[in-house]
Symmetry: C2
Subunit: 175 residues, 2 copies
């Protein structure tokens, strides 16, 4: 019945360019993933900022989507920057994972554009994960607008257990 | 550095008479406590409902605490009922723990009167726990007034990681 058998678990960790998410990943590796016998899958989930769009009222008074409010050049630059951020974050996570070389977990990466709370909840449901792990101090440089709401939202909406890992004050980056 | 060494962890689980908290305890035993080498302490934290009090305006127009709004007999009955609930919940938790007989965790119990969210956060801080685990469906028969706010509040206020365990729909008790 309630035996300590290793199970195949899928654990999603929301990662971004902030230290809090790396701390959450580290905490998860130390306390959750360390537990089982290499049957776990760690899903690193990164939400790219959505492209800025604008709306306007058309001739008939209907609100229409005008598309990008920036020039193609600026969009291309932002895309490049966003892709660099993905690389940067995943590289950071990879370095952290290397420290846990005795853990033999499978690692999957998922990168989607959108509000982190939607991306995370959607990925959690789509991949049918057993647990979502989130850091609680902000949500990265370009997603400050969503600060605070991500962990709350996911705790409410996700169908699986949600672990909110707060950075101890001593390790918080200065703001 | 980041090795898989067993650490002494203290994990607080909020328990009450609802099924959600027992599911959270079970999930914790299966996924968190199973991991380490018998160096964990499980703290079962139960919040007794506070005694009802009333306030009134005194002769000078000041608001004063009138004490209990119920007769001593009713208070005694309520106290008895509350104590029986504590026994009931702790017995339920004990039965669940027995199913995990191969886990050798130390078990501590903490019972305090008050709003569950305050009791849990206070106990977590006082005992300097490494993690708080909470069920998310309601908070027991006598604490319906606090429903929904407990896990949110603790996720915001507790200084340690907070795990919110939602009961799968298939196992939810009918409402």
């Amino acid at each position: 019945m309630a035996e300590c058998e290793a199970k195949e678990r899928k654990i999603l960790v929301g990662v971004d360019e902030g230290e809090a998410s790396m701390y959450a990943l580290s905490w998860c590796l130390n306390n959750i993933l360390v537990s089982q016998n290499s049957k776990d899958t760690l899903v690193l989930c990164y939400a790219k900022p959505p492209r800025p769009v604008s709306t306007a009222i058309d001739g008939a008074g209907r609100r229409e989507l005008r598309g990008y409010m920036c020039s193609p050049n600026i969009i291309a630059t932002m895309d490049k920057y966003a892709n660099e951020l993905v690389e940067f974050v995943m590289e950071k996570a990879k370095r952290l994972l290397k420290e846990f070389h005795n853990l033999d977990v499978r690692v999957e990466k998922i990168v989607e554009s959108g509000d982190p709370k939607d991306v995370i909840c959607h990925a959690a449901e789509k991949l049918d994960v057993d647990m979502v792990v989130l850091g609680s101090h902000g949500y990265g440089l370009m997603k400050r607008a969503f600060v605070g709401s991500v962990s709350n939202h996911c705790a409410q909406k996700a169908k699986c257990p949600v672990l909110i890992v707060k950075m101890p004050k001593s390790t918080c980056p200065s703001k």
